[in-house]
């Protein structure tokens, strides 16, 4: 009987919850779905009304809704039904550059809780047109921007979503398209849940998949990203904050930059990540890249299950000293397991909009790399069950980095440079290059070169405590070749 009462109570609680989350139809507020009317004020009115009346969902039924900047408020969810598209205005003047955030966006939220954007509808920023209209205004002198590289600054182009200091966010089922700047940014937020979203973000410079900045408690799963710039991008803008307690599962990404990226801005750090079942394909730079170049701390990262197909580089871990401002960055306790990767000979993102720039030439195919600093080594990295297929065919007449002390020491440290896998130009290994590290474990790792390469597969430089067990190297015409070359390395164990 008591049990039955509990069930009844539960039922009523459930009912109560559902009743309080009321649905409001957008068009009821005079919002037009004609694809022409700029609905900014009406949508804002609707959000404010729902927020002031106990919360609920603002439902966009099938149709095209044009808007400029709107602010989402606590306890309001934007529900985009199948067939509903929120179209960003193509006029930059219809967007607000939020004073606190310092960026433009279509959908803002600042200091709100229990908010969401859900449903099978689409948010389309129409960013290419908007960005070009902004260029036009700048040329006419009615908007001030240095127009560096002939593009407006990232902060003067609208993103689709920018949430700052919000708690309990749900982004479910939606499709995000064509922003003018990054795409969706969650900055100093708590409890962000992203599930089953689709991102098509390659309409203009800097279009990312998702940017998570200094957030605590993040789940991103079952999502697909096609982005001109980084796909899953975790950043740390504030030295007092960090990205932590993050789960990424079952995501697929394509990029003309990197797949899973920590940084580049990396002031606070990144801790306690678990990334599983990640697929990265047709990607110009690295499938996985962690940068601690601005004083940030990277610790306790587990990556399990990666397919990296037709991607320029597989793993790039880097400590640098760019904007550290006397903070001492570190990177330790990283496990990457169950990886299958294919690195192509040609350009992996050829033909996509906003292709990555061909740079750091001449160099033969770059290896995966772990590169710390002399006084600041990358610590405890375990690579387990890894299989990487390279094209090989490194040609010393095109670019050469030999194995003499002079040549190995001649590789620049590039402490203050922007971190990219190709930054050192030609490296002396075709499979994996490790420099300034301690506690590196390779377990059951296979490197395959499809053609003969002049370099060995692995070079270790200034490494303490490296253990290889079950290393397999396949390279044609290379019988008797020394495939692991240690330099200034102590306590190397090859089982």
């Amino acid at each position: 009987m008591i049990y039955k009462n509990k069930i009844t109570l539960f039922f009523f609680l459930l009912l109560g919850f559902q009743l309080s989350a009321k649905d409001y139809i957008a068009t009821e507020f005079g919002v037009k779905n004609d694809g022409l009317t700029l609905n900014t004020c009406s949508i804002q009115k609707a959000i404010d009304f729902i927020h002031e009346h106990g919360g609920g969902r603002l439902v966009f039924e099938s149709g095209n809704y044009v808007t400029g900047s709107i602010y989402l408020k606590s306890n309001v969810t934007l529900q985009l039904d199948y067939g509903a598209t929120i179209l960003g205005s193509t006029n930059p003047f219809d967007y607000v550059k939020d004073k606190k955030i310092g960026w433009m966006s279509m959908i803002f939220a600042v200091n709100q809780e229990n908010i969401g954007i859900t449903g099978k509808g689409i948010i389309n920023g129409r960013g290419f047109t908007t960005a070009n209209n902004m260029v036009n205004y700048i040329h006419r002198g009615v908007y001030v921007d240095p127009l560096k590289y002939d593009r407006p600054n990232e902060t003067n182009r609208p993103q689709n979503i920018y949430f700052r200091e919000c708690t309990n966010i749900k982004i479910i089922d939606i499709t995000l398209k064509d922003p003018a700047s990054w795409n969706q940014t969650y900055d100093q937020c708590k409890n962000l849940y992203v599930d089953h979203i689709t991102v098509d973000s390659k309409s203009y410079w800097n279009n990312d998949g998702i940017d998570v900045v200094d957030c605590d408690g993040v789940v991103i799963k079952n999502s697909y990203f096609d982005a001109a710039d980084d796909v899953l991008c975790f950043k740390s803008h504030s030295a007092q904050h960090m990205c932590q307690n993050v789960v990424v599962d079952n995501c697929v990404g394509r990029s003309s930059a990197n797949g899973l990226k920590f940084g580049t801005v990396s002031r606070g750090g990144f801790k306690n990540f678990k990334v599983t079942n990640l697929t990265i394909y047709d990607t110009f730079r690295s499938a996985i890249t962690f940068a601690a170049v601005d004083g940030g701390e990277i610790e306790n990262i587990v990556i399990d299950g990666v397919r990296s197909i037709n991607t320029g580089n597989v793993i790039y871990l880097r400590i640098g000293d760019r904007w550290s401002s006397r903070k001492k960055p570190y990177m330790k306790n990283i496990t990457i397991s169950n990886v299958y990767a294919e690195v192509p000979f040609g350009k992996p993102d050829a033909g996509y909009n906003f292709e990555g720039p061909i740079e750091d030439l001449p160099r033969n195919i770059s290896p995966a790399s772990i590169v710390g600093l002399v006084e600041n080594k990358i610590q405890n990295v375990t690579l387990k069950n890894i299989q990487i297929v390279y094209p090989g065919s490194g040609n010393p007449l095109y670019a050469k980095r030999g194995l003499t002390p002079a040549e190995l020491d001649g590789i620049p440290e590039m402490r203050e440079a922007y971190p990219e896998f190709s930054q050192f130009k030609e490296l002396p290994a075709w499979g994996f290059y490790v420099r300034h590290a301690e506690g590196i474990t390779f377990e059951n790792v296979t490197f395959t070169a499809l053609k003969k390469d002049y370099r060995p597969s692995v070079v270790l430089d200034d490494v303490k405590n490296a253990t290889f067990s079950g290393l397999v190297v396949n390279e044609p015409e290379s019988v008797g070749k020394q495939q692991v070359f240690p330099y200034k390395t102590s306590n190397l164990i090859i089982k």
Partner: protein, 250 residues
């Protein structure tokens, strides 16, 4: 002698700089004349820009310019040339007010402002009124109809105002509402707003110095209303549509 000449030149150049308000075409700011694009933020951006640059005219030429409330700023004149129609949007949440009076063109605490030209301001009164009634009925809009009805022009606490030459039609609320303004000139306006019975042609309160010249006003009930707290009022050659010449009790 040469020095004196240079000084004179300098004075001329400087005074010209101060006097010569610049002209800006609406298209410079991406304002669209298609009657469909809601231009509120672009027109506002234009006004803010011109005011920050020291003032001037924002010129509209042939076309229908759809907009919600725009806020006029110091030293800016909106010039509606022949064939230019500034159209009030039917979307009621795009209107804001000055001193509690909503309007298509509002200004609060500004100086040297104006609206001129031979164009039209069209309020779309019946459509706006219908939307207001619906939103009140649904409970989303918690205002009375008269609070929610936008005027065409509402100015509060402004000084040195010139409104001249154009046509004003189909206001949802009143046509022109002035509160606590100084040095006002309304001249050569053709006001025709008979779609809402309640609409008044001109309402003013606590205005010091108002010249009404060559006005033609057609409303259903009340053409001009003043609350008796205004001073220095002059009337020259103003007419009602009914044919009687314009007089009113202050």
């Amino acid at each position: 002698m040469q020095k004196l000449f240079l000084k004179i030149c300098l004075i001329i150049v400087m005074s010209q700089g101060a006097l010569c308000a610049k002209d800006y075409n609406a298209s410079l700011f991406g304002i669209k004349s298609d009657g469909v694009t809601l231009n509120t933020p672009s027109i506002q951006k234009a006004i803010d820009f011109i005011s920050e640059k020291g003032g001037g005219k924002l010129k509209f030429y042939v076309g229908r310019y759809l907009t919600g409330s725009i806020q006029l700023k110091s030293n800016v004149t909106i010039e509606l040339n022949e064939g230019a129609v500034l159209v009030g949007t039917s979307s009621i949440y795009d209107y804001v007010g000055a001193n509690g009076i909503k309007a298509l063109i509002v200004a609060d605490g500004q100086q040297n402002i104006g609206v001129s030209g031979k164009g039209v301001i069209e309020g779309q009164g019946p459509t706006v009124l219908e939307q207001i009634a619906k939103q009140i009925q649904k409970g989303y809009l918690q205002e009375t109809i008269s609070q929610a009805s936008p005027a065409l022009i509402a100015l509060n606490n402004c000084t040195s105002i010139n409104i001249e030459g154009f046509n004003l039609q189909n206001a949802c609320g009143n046509v022109i509402a002035l509160t606590a303004c100084k040095q006002v000139r309304l001249a050569g306006l053709k006001i025709k707003s008979t779609t809402n019975k309640e609409t008044k042609g001109l309402v003013f309160s606590k205005v010091d110095g108002i010249k009404l010249e060559n006005l033609f006003i057609e409303t259903v009930v009340s053409e001009i209303k003043s609350d008796g707290l205004s001073t220095n009022i002059s009337l020259v050659n103003c007419q009602y549509a009914s044919g009687k010449s314009l007089i009113f009790k202050n």
